[in-house]
């Protein structure tokens, strides 16, 4: 199923989060007013980027090795396409994207110089206050580190500020506490939290206390039967 959306409401951090989570492969196409770029995704990693004049051209070749042969690009030079056509676009707030899973076949190893974790953090550093507010919407929110957070941040190349924020995430401190204790400005803290959340290095602290439902099992069974009958 294709994923489509608009960068103004679903930014690169959000897109990468979806691609990275299940290690998707496919082609991400982003259409800006002045250009369209196809990003080739292998198991959640962006391995190649190229501008295209017509979107349908992207679907003319299914084999990745054949494609880069035709384009006369060596595997060693693939990371340069990421630098040229992705890194400086990560802060872009306009444009339409669509991700088509599958389609392209990757038959050999491809170097990954820009791991998706690193791209997520680079993109998170460009978020506006309005964007961070979408996820860090409440200063009373509490986060905790994921079990495998070390693994997640290993490739992310965190800045000193981001590391500081990560250190303060302990399942007890709220966003407000982290902002205060870090001594950093709010936007830097919120961007770091947004990025770390997208990396799955941290997660929202689950409320332990669940309200016991105020209903008897007998009545509940009756409701279930009634709904089935509708």
């Amino acid at each position: 199923m294709a994923l489509t959306g608009d960068l103004s409401t679903f930014n690169f951090v959000d897109i990468f989060q979806v691609l990275a989570k299940d290690k998707r492969s496919g082609i991400l196409i982003v259409e800006w007013q002045d250009m369209t770029i196809a990003y080739y995704v292998k198991e959640g990693e962006i391995v190649f980027a190229r501008p295209v004049d017509r979107v349908f051209r992207v679907y003319a070749e299914r084999d990745f090795d054949t494609l880069i042969d035709k384009l006369r690009i060596s595997k060693e030079n693939l990371p340069k396409t990421i630098e040229r056509f992705l890194i400086n676009k990560l802060g872009s707030k306009e444009g339409v994207f669509s991700f088509t899973p599958g389609f392209i076949r990757y038959n050999s190893d491809i170097p990954v110089n820009y791991p998706i974790e690193k791209l997520i953090m680079i993109a998170s550093r460009t978020l506006t206050p309005e964007e961070v507010e979408r996820k860090i919407s409440d200063e009373l929110l509490t986060f905790e580190k994921s079990q495998d957070y070390m693994e997640k941040v290993r490739k992310a190349e965190l800045t000193k500020e981001e590391e500081k924020v990560l250190t303060l995430v302990d399942g007890e401190k709220s966003v407000m506490d982290i902002r205060r204790e870090s001594g950093l400005d709010n936007l830097t803290v919120d961007r770091a939290l947004y990025g770390l959340l997208a990396l799955s290095a941290i997660k929202r602290k689950r409320k332990e206390k669940k309200q016991k439902p105020s209903i008897t099992l007998e009545l509940l069974a009756k409701i279930i039967e009634r709904i089935k009958e509708l």
Binding site: T4, G5, T9, K207, I227
Partner: protein
């Protein structure tokens, strides 16, 4: 005559997620709507009318009990109504328009709102699955940052289809049952 006891389920979600339709599809009474013409330009291009206080549908359980379905207004400027409607709810269904990722962040905020105030069982319905460009429930789950440990199932829903709405309600009721048996 014995007074009727009311059991409440809340249907929440962002603007134009399909909450009114969801209730309409299973309610035994004509849904009571509190709609007004949309005013904001962005909203007007999506639909002409929007819920401003609540939607209300009803399913009779037996002679003594009725299941009330309350739909909340989608816009956060009406969040005072979320507070009122959430009080005493047995469970909450959050509907999300799977074809419109621009509303996913708003959906997460709504989940946070209800989680922090009313920690009752919750199900997310990835609505409009009948439309061709709908995101899959799994992708919606990732986009909403719903961790598996949160215990919030994200299920496919098509609010115009009665069986689909019933399935969403049954998922929530079974979750409530699990809580009771815990």
């Amino acid at each position: 005559m014995k007074p009727i006891k009311k059991i409440k389920i809340v249907v929440a979600g962002p603007f134009a997620a399909g909450k009114t339709q969801f209730i309409n599809t299973v309610s035994e009474i004509k849904t009571v709507k509190t709609e007004r013409r949309t005013q904001a330009v962005g909203e007007r291009s999506v639909k002409d009318y929007t819920t401003v206080a609540m939607d209300f549908g009803k399913i009779r359980i037996d002679d003594e009990h009725e299941l009330y379905l309350f739909g909340t207004p989608g816009q956060s400027r009406f969040d005072f109504m979320w507070e009122i409607l959430g009080e005493g709810a047995l469970g909450i269904i959050i509907l999300v328009d799977s074809t419109d990722p621009s509303t996913f962040h708003e959906a997460r905020k709504i989940i946070n709102f209800f989680q922090s105030r009313f920690p009752v069982p919750m199900v997310v319905g990835a609505n409009k699955q009948d439309l061709p460009n709908a995101w899959s429930p799994e992708d919606v789950r990732i986009a909403l940052d719903i961790d598996e440990e949160e215990g919030i199932p994200v299920i496919p829903v098509s609010a115009i289809d009665k069986e689909s709405v019933k399935s969403a309600l049954l998922t929530l009721l079974n979750l409530i049952k699990e809580e009771l048996l815990r």
